[in-house]
């Protein structure tokens, strides 16, 4: 850790891991619930299933955020992926 790391990419990467990872976990949770509901799974059951997986997903993407080469890709996958999954979940459960 002797040489100083440039601060902007570092802060951006930390934010991507923490906030982007959270957005991704949120999107993942929503999508698992929405897809399960589509399959006729009971809401409570769907929510429990999503919660059991969500933190493992958060853990995985958090670590990936630090190991990936391209910071832009990290932001796109985590922020964009989280938003896309959330939108997909909302679309799946919209009242028809």
């Amino acid at each position: 850790m002797a040489k100083a790391l440039p601060w902007f990419p570092l802060v951006s990467r930390i934010l991507a891991a923490v906030a982007g990872g959270y957005a991704f976990a949120w999107g993942f949770t929503s999508l698992v619930i929405a897809l399960s509901l589509q399959q006729g799974v009971d809401y409570d059951e769907a929510r429990k299933l999503a919660y059991l997986l969500a933190f493992l997903v958060y853990l995985a993407v958090f670590l990936w955020a630090f190991s990936a080469q391209s910071l832009l890709r990290v932001w796109l996958v985590l922020g964009g992926g989280g938003a896309a999954m959330t939108a997909a979940a909302l679309w799946l459960v919209q009242p028809t």
Partner: protein
């Protein structure tokens, strides 16, 4: 950003581990104490030092007490902030729900009432706000135990390990939740950093230089209890998942409401009161029936939780849950009765696969089972976690202290002072609270609040002391604060059992000969801790002498 995968994982492990390590230290330590929270309660409230009691008669003993419970002022004020318009006057509120909870380790019974609030909540995602009231009684005769007496184990140390007692915006929960995620991260990155994981099971070289033996111990305690650490951080997150990922309100409100309707139809348990008054049949008869049904299913057991929902209403029902002393999974086997007639409405079915896994993980964390050896393994696992975190701090400091001393950086000096506060300071604060518990006048109003203030104050003083004594770190030498606080801890750990003897007469010979383990156990652990603290202080003094620090005898006893 980093030249290799391993380096990036090392960076994450070092820096996130360092920053959140201070929080994790408290979570692991107070979590470990929570394994014996009921026993700590007995030590702290001497008038409750008698054997655990079964659920008493509801009809004769509990019902009149439930009816007399008033809404708690703080809960009333809290609810007022969350709703539109003024609440009905506090003394006019009528309880809609009762609950009584006990475990195989509880001589006392916790009772609570919930009062319905007619006002509309400000948060559109909440459908009801409730005001709560509660009382703790001696179930043998119904005498109330004053709220001024704090249950230090179950109401202070236990919530501290998941909420930090920081309730503004649930901030404590979020900090602990993030720390738990970082615990998982630290475990995975730790494994990535060290390839020779099998060898680390058996490697500890205490005679090597500090940096080496500290790292051995860090790896050993991390690896030996790796599944334990992972499970506790993970299940902690799952237990509070509803707080961390509150998707229901903003995204699935309609689905959640539909689910409640389906549940209501499936179970026959009314979600809302009917608004028609109805009497309450004998609850004791319902308890007899519930126990008969458990015995029939070959799961004879005691009542753990007894609840009345929609009390006094035609839709009212009584739920009797079994205490889960004989299995890991969180279990209820609840049997629900119509309150007005006593007929069975529903026997809880077996949980589905997902709910079963969820119950098992939650049960593994909350340990309602009766198994004393396993309970001690939980404590050892938690303390191994504490050693792992503490040695992480020390390794961080040892590795950098010479370089920082040369360059004049205050980095490790700050880290080390915070580590002193997080390790020995936390222990000093904990035992100071126990000492204060025995020294404060028994009838002091709001006695528990004073105990809490003394705890935080002691911790703050330990931090200030650590900062004040940190100067030798600037010369790459060890801070004498470690040793001084070890000695302070030793003194406190002897004082606590002595004060327990003086104020209650329950000395170790008496509690041991009677086999009263809740108090004997804590006294013995305190004395053992005093011994360890003295040994550590002696080793630290040798270390300091070897570093060429001048002897500072008078300072050793100032704390």
């Amino acid at each position: 950003m980093f030249s290799s995968f391993r380096l990036s994982m090392t960076w994450v492990h070092t820096w996130f581990g360092l920053v959140l390590g201070y929080v994790l230290m408290a979570c692991f330590f107070f979590g470990s104490l929570s394994v014996f929270d009921r026993e700590i309660d007995r030590w702290a409230i001497p008038e409750t030092r008698y054997e655990p009691q079964p659920m008493p008669s509801f009809d004769k003993l509990l019902l009149p007490i439930f009816k007399a419970i008033e809404p708690r002022q703080e809960s009333y004020d809290e609810a007022q902030k969350e709703v539109h318009g003024p609440l009905p006057p506090r003394e006019k509120m009528v309880a809609g729900e009762f609950g009584a909870y006990t475990t195989h380790r509880d001589p006392v019974l916790s009772m609570f009432s919930s009062f319905d609030v007619p006002n509309k909540p400000k948060n559109p995602n909440v459908d009801h706000v409730h005001v709560f009231g509660g009382v703790t009684i001696d179930p043998r005769d119904g005498t109330a135990i004053s709220d001024d007496k704090l249950k230090i184990g179950s109401r202070f140390f236990y919530p501290l390990h998941y909420s930090l007692h920081l309730h503004w915006l649930d901030l404590g929960y979020w900090i602990v939740g993030f720390a738990a995620l970082i615990m998982l991260v630290a475990l995975v990155t730790g494994v990535v950093m060290h390839r020779k994981i099998f060898r680390e099971f058996f490697t500890f070289r205490p005679k090597k230089q500090t940096q080496r033996s500290v790292l051995d111990l860090h790896n050993l305690t991390g690896v030996v209890a790796l599944p334990f650490h992972f499970f506790f951080a993970f299940t902690g997150l799952v237990i509070f998942a509803g707080i961390y990922l509150p998707v229901t309100g903003p995204m699935f409100k309609a689905q959640a409401e539909a689910h409640e309707k389906i549940e209501e139809e499936r179970t026959g348990l009314p979600h809302d009161p009917a608004g028609v008054a109805a009497p309450l049949a004998s609850v004791d008869a319902m308890v007899v029936e519930a126990r008969r049904r458990w015995a029939e299913r070959d799961m004879a057991g005691e009542v753990g939780f007894l609840g009345v929902t929609h009390y006094g209403d035609a839709n009212g029902y009584v739920s009797v849950y079994r205490a889960g002393t004989d299995r890991v999974t969180l279990t209820g086997q609840g049997i629900h009765f119509r309150a007005s007639t006593g007929e069975v409405i529903l026997e809880d079915p077996q949980p589905s696969t997902v709910a079963g896994i969820d119950d098992w993980l939650t049960g593994l964390h909350l340990q309602h089972f009766r198994h004393w050896l396993l309970r001690w393994f939980y404590v050892l696992g938690g303390l191994a976690g504490c050693v792992c975190i503490a040695t992480g701090f020390i390794f961080f400091v040892e590795k950098r202290k010479r370089q920082h001393a040369r360059s004049g950086s205050a980095g490790v000096r700050v880290v080390d002072a915070l580590a002193v506060a997080a390790v020995t300071g936390m222990l000093v604060a904990t035992v100071t609270m126990l000492v204060a518990n025995r020294l404060l006048p028994p009838e002091l109003p709001a006695r528990g609040d004073w105990e809490e203030r003394i705890f935080w104050l002691a911790w703050l003083l330990a931090l200030l002391h650590a900062g004040w004594r940190s100067a030798p770190m600037a010369r790459a030498q060890r801070s004498p604060a470690w040793r001084a606080q070890c000695l302070a801890l030793a003194v406190l750990c002897v004082a606590a059992p002595l004060l327990n003897w003086i104020t209650t007469g329950d000395h170790l010979f008496k509690t041991l000969s009677k086999g009263y383990w809740p108090v004997a156990g804590l006294d013995l652990v305190l004395l053992l801790s005093a011994g360890i603290a003295v040994l550590v202080a002696r080793r630290l003094r040798h270390g300091e002498a070897a570093e060429g620090v001048e002897q500072e005898n008078p300072e050793a006893s100032h704390a």
